[in-house]
Symmetry: C4
Subunit: 214 residues, 4 copies
């Protein structure tokens, strides 16, 4: 499982090109400040392509994408994967139909995570855009976006995510002072979920600001 | 009325190109998050070109534009039109001089719709930009932008819109938690109305935020 | 004074190209919503190039720039100049060293004009960027940006501007609910003044919002 | 030490190209309004390349970059260096491993500097992005960004900066009503620090706005 031959190199090139193009767009929105954030796409039942830690996300090149197995170990690469790789691989391992994971640090995401760390979730309710999340057919629903306490110990975070996933379907979570993880079956769905989370968190913050003025 | 021959294919190509170019610009403003929003242009007295539901509005291609008749049925296309198509066709059917309809989900629009859902309208008053709306020659006027309750049942929404139109001329309305519909004689006028609504809603929200600080 | 021969056609082409390029950039900042705003540059001691009213400022072409004399009459053009042309020509007529006038409608400008219409000016004080205004060598100064009541009667506005100019040098003013006029010796200085006004008005609004939270 | 031969002209061309490209990006973010801000990169043990004062930072060309020695004197150039050059050269002189200094005027920076001028620092605490600063391995830390009183007398500012540097490592400071200085070993690190400061100052301002609404 640790040789480059264990995955399809063409699949890697395809996913790398897709990650580079999409991450550049997210970077232009200001969602990856100061080389933060990381992004991955499934290659097969045992491997994912993931961004190398510390690179400028607005200027990724093919060499900034590496392969990991679902234990988070580098495959066919001298790069050391980011500590947060575990938060990606736990989802690929658990769900066959997760194909792409996007972790960003927009200001809405970071501020919402700080503001709602106490209650431990942000409730999103009454928005048409709730229909952007897979499985929702109406705006007459609500979702609670979990906010986890931040930790530099990834197994602790991963265990909390697993406990949340045991309770039902979800498409993303916040980490306090940190940012958002969002995912989907493929890049298109993961981006749709990411954009919907960010837009709705931004609306919630704005409504909260305006509420005092009513 | 259900064959491709019933409309001018060159008119379709022209309108499709215009929709694609303009919608890309609106998307770059962040007004179409998470594949939301829809857009249409009149082809003739019985047909309109409209965006296919669920496509990424920043990357539309010709195949993402379909034709509907004014009952909202697909014409010469296997795509199923969006449920919201009815909110477009009711305007084309009712007004010969409506040539373009733009429905977007900017944050200003969504937040204003939530904040003013109670009173049922947003009053815009005292702005020079009120002259951007067809028929206004002075800033010494006011317009009330209606805010409709959201519903997944389009005939209900369409009936409410018709009732508002019975009361007098209007160039757009909000739906609670959802976004804005704006229209005009052609793309240029519809965009001018859309931009004026969004700008003035943004000003109103900002003034409201600042009012507490006075 | 009403023939095309009365000004240098090459000067017109040069100014038109400069206006088109600069106005496109201002438009991309969102400062010219809904075809609003107008822009001019001096051609000689009796003529200025000015944008034709109602054009989309993000897509100007050479035909969207016309020539007026300093009475505001069209020269060598069938276009009718905008009513606001008088607010441009009064400055060219009064000051030999005014070479460029930029009138925009950013949200900061419009909101500040509404908020400070009562006191009739916005005080800008203690900012390093005050040095961006011609003649200022230190941040230890203050300038009061006038806010005029809006009017559709241009001679009334022009008379108020003249009265302000009698009191001392100034590089711009706001009109309530409307936007900002800024000028300079040439395009570079006019843009520097415009950007400084917009930036500092934005800071003032932000500080006011934050003041309640202290 | 005052002849053009005293530095490597190829190193100058390289640094100039890097400065031009990076400053254009910072300008597009709106962080260099009204020709403000200045930027430099070390050439060798006695020289730095620095932007000429008063140029439009979105359109820099090679001629807008000059060389200074670490006393702030122009080398091989008729341009007069900006008064603020001293705030650059004091860092190059003091720290062999400072390779790049970025001074910008974003709205977040300017507003934060005004708001926190009283306490004299902005505390940044509990953010994952604190790890973007060299030497930080965890978010469980805090940094105090100093806010210096503004002065047109650069030796006064430089002495205050030196006193702060005597107390421990730091990667940037604010000047009241003015903007931010940030630096690093090279352009990549200086930009990472600059982006982290700006992002976290923006989060602090936003949280402060929202705090009143809780």
């Amino acid at each position: 499982m640790d040789s480059a031959a264990s995955y399809d190199p063409q699949a890697l090139r395809d996913r790398a090109a897709q990650l580079i193009a999409n991450v550049r767009e997210l970077s232009q929105l200001g969602w990856t400040p100061a080389t933060s954030s990381n992004f991955s796409a499934r290659l097969d039942a045992g491997h994912a392509a993931i961004t190398v830690s510390g690179r400028d996300k607005g200027r990724l090149v093919e060499d900034d994408i590496m392969v990991v197995d679902f234990d988070g170990r580098a495959v066919g690469s001298a790069h050391r994967p980011s500590a947060e790789t575990l938060l990606h691989t736990q989802l690929y391992r658990r769900f066959d139909d997760v194909g792409c994971i996007l972790h960003t640090h927009s200001r809405h995401q970071t501020v919402a995570s700080r503001l709602f760390a106490g209650p431990g979730h942000v409730r999103l309710e009454g928005y048409e855009l709730l229909k952007a999340f897979r499985g929702n057919e109406t705006h007459e629903t609500a979702i609670d976006v979990p906010v986890l306490p931040n930790s530099q110990h990834m197994p602790t975070l991963a265990a909390q995510v697993d406990a949340l996933l045991d309770r039902g379907p979800m498409w993303g979570y916040l980490i306090d002072g940190h940012g958002l993880y969002a995912w989907g079956r493929d890049m298109a769905e993961a981006r749709r979920h990411l954009e919907a989370f960010d837009f709705l968190l931004g609306c919630e913050l704005e409504i909260r600001r305006l509420a005092v003025a009513r």
